[in-house]
């Protein structure tokens, strides 16, 4: 078993009246990729921000190497993040050199900017360029290089390829896989594309309405999905955009079922108790579970 790098226990984040994240627990292990799959609004990006400590959790705790880290800068030395939009995550007024020099200075690392660029397969002369002179894929590589500058144990990748052209997505994902192997990184891969989770991640969690509804090794979750929501997600693939539309339900209806299962309003297999009682987790296979009433009888 790979060693645990980051552990989140019972994370809750509430904005005014909206519960963005409800009771999420996760374990990230070194040398492994964990995928967090969900559509927009499922709370998956909030989880990334919570784990990056960009927002404070309302409840719950985050353990790094088994302990709570009080000093944020020390935490950030170990946990780094890659953002979704490479056009927005680099400051247009600074050169690539500036973007890469800063984390090296902050975390007192000995590498040079050129070494960082080489690590993400970019030529050294990119250092003098500005973000707008680079393509989306090149920028995302710079963003990855910046995250790696701190020598992190954990890399949080929030939809790292969703803004890129389809033709270059694979290249960036392969780069991440390669870096994971070489640097023994624990990677959290957040995506709305469940198909890419199968290819890329060792373990997959599916999020809906701020909660994790299903989890297990990627192969079983994507090949034998148990939760009706995961099944819908996979049926509507390969076009993840369409999934969002097909599954759409009025916001008020979704919000109304706060007591029972979050998915009740949109579930094709909804039962009476789904509206009133939250479903417990049931094992549906080897290390594979789902939070759904369908499997409660079977397990009992």
């Amino acid at each position: 078993m790979n060693e645990v790098a980051l552990e989140a226990k019972g994370l809750v984040k509430t904005y005014k009246r909206v519960r963005a994240v409800q009771d999420v627990s996760l374990v990230l292990r070194r040398g492994r990729v964990t995928a967090l799959v969900g559509e927009s609004g499922s709370g998956k990006s909030t989880v990334a921000k919570l784990l990056a400590r960009l927002v404070e959790p309302t409840e719950g705790e985050i353990l790094l190497d088994g302990r709570k880290v009080r000093r944020v800068r020390e935490y950030r030395r170990k946990v780094q993040m890659v953002f979704q939009d490479p056009f927005a995550s680099l400051n247009p007024v600074h050169t690539i050199r500036y973007h890469l020099t800063r984390p090296l200075k902050i975390h007192k690392r000995p590498e040079t900017v050129e070494q960082l660029l080489e690590r993400v397969n970019l030529p050294a002369d990119f250092a003098a360029r500005y973000p707008h002179e680079l393509s989306g894929g090149q920028r995302q590589r710079v963003a990855i290089a910046r995250a790696l500058a701190a020598h992190p144990e954990v890399l949080l990748a929030d939809e790292p390829v969703s803004m890129l052209d389809v033709s270059i997505r694979l290249g960036v994902l392969n780069l991440l896989l390669d870096l994971k192997e070489r640097l023994k990184l624990a990677v959290l891969y957040i995506t709305h594309d469940i198909a890419s989770a199968r290819y890329f991640a060792d373990e997959t969690f599916v999020m809906y309405g701020g909660q994790i509804v299903e989890g297990g090794d990627s192969e079983s979750v994507t090949q034998q999905p148990a939760h009706p929501y995961t099944q819908l997600l996979i049926e509507s693939a390969p076009d993840p955009e369409r999934a969002v539309v097909a599954l759409d339900a009025p916001v008020e209806e979704v919000a109304a079922v706060s007591a029972g299962c979050q998915f009740a309003a949109r579930c094709p297999k909804v039962q009476d108790r789904c509206w009133t009682d939250a479903p417990p987790r049931s094992d549906v296979g080897e290390g594979h579970w789902a939070a759904c009433w369908l499997y409660v009888e079977a397990a009992a």
Binding site: V72, R73, M81, N91, V93, I106, R146, A150
Partner: protein, 272 residues
């Protein structure tokens, strides 16, 4: 850079030059009385003379410096204040933002002119620098308001989050990540403040609450008005100074359009 912006910069450069060398190239002492009383423009007196025979051309030349100094001092002071208040409010958000926004709105709404007139006339010696400081205190609010809005939209951008995530400290994020992206807004705010300050100073001189011992374009207009230049048809007494004000104001406004168009591509001219 388009023609309008270059024209603006050219006029500004011209007045800056006059501000520096004006008192040396002036043909007469602006306060010295002469024998040609209230004479229209001529070869000897390009802009004519006043009731007491003072040379108006020399007054305009010498008076340029006072105008430009007040504009510059106010521009710097007020821009500094507006960055301090506006960027802080926009970046911090929450209660600090509420309080600072309220402060700038109060300063915006209170009519500055009557207030400054009262302050200036109560001060025992209202010299140029003191007036510049007082004007700055009322001139920062508009810039702060615009900077706050811009900062708020920048604060939510990913590169600010990314800088935080890579471990940057808050003050460094404000100074090195946010401020450089605000340069166009700050620049246009600076120019706007200079226009405001110049107008206000000239107005104060014209109504006679500022020390009349130093020349500026407003003082010329004050003497013209108090000596009934209008009624006597002495148009040359008040036209040159007024045109200079309008020219300087136009130049600064043109520069500001240039900055706006640079910062907001939608405002650029449509090319067929």
């Amino acid at each position: 850079m388009n023609f309008k912006t270059r024209l603006g910069l050219g006029i500004l450069a011209f007045f800056t030059l006059i501000a520096v060398i004006g008192s040396w190239i002036a043909p007469y002492d602006p306060s010295a009385m002469g024998d040609d009383l209230l004479s229209p423009p001529s070869g000897a007196h390009w802009f004519g003379t006043t009731m007491t025979g003072q040379d108006i051309f020399s007054q305009v030349l010498v008076g340029t410096r006072g105008v430009m100094v007040v504009g510059l001092v106010c521009g710097v002071l007020a821009t500094f204040l507006s960055i301090l208040v506006g960027v802080t409010a926009g970046f911090l958000g929450g209660a600090a933002d509420e309080a600072l926004s309220m402060l700038s709105n109060v300063f915006l709404v209170i009519p500055a002119l009557p207030l400054i007139i009262i302050v200036a006339s109560m001060l025992p010696s209202a010299d140029t620098v003191l007036i510049a400081a007082v004007i700055s205190l009322t001139a920062w609010a508009w810039g702060a308001r615009i900077l706050r809005a811009q900062t708020m939209s920048l604060r939510r951008r990913d590169f600010v989050e990314a800088a935080r995530a890579s471990g940057e400290r808050t003050w460094r994020i404000i100074v090195f990540e946010v401020l450089p992206n605000l340069l166009a807004v700050i620049g246009s705010g600076f120019v706007g403040t200079v226009i405001f300050a110049v107008m206000l100073q000239i107005t104060l001189s014209f109504v006679g609450v500022v020390s009349l011992s130093t020349w500026n374009w407003g003082t010329i207009l004050f003497w013209a008005q108090s000596n009934q230049a209008l009624g006597q048809g002495a148009w040359w007494w008040f036209v040159p100074a007024g045109l200079c004000i309008a020219l300087l104001g136009t130049a600064l406004a043109l520069i500001n359009f240039g900055i706006d168009e640079y910062a907001n591509p939608r405002l650029r001219k449509v090319r067929a």
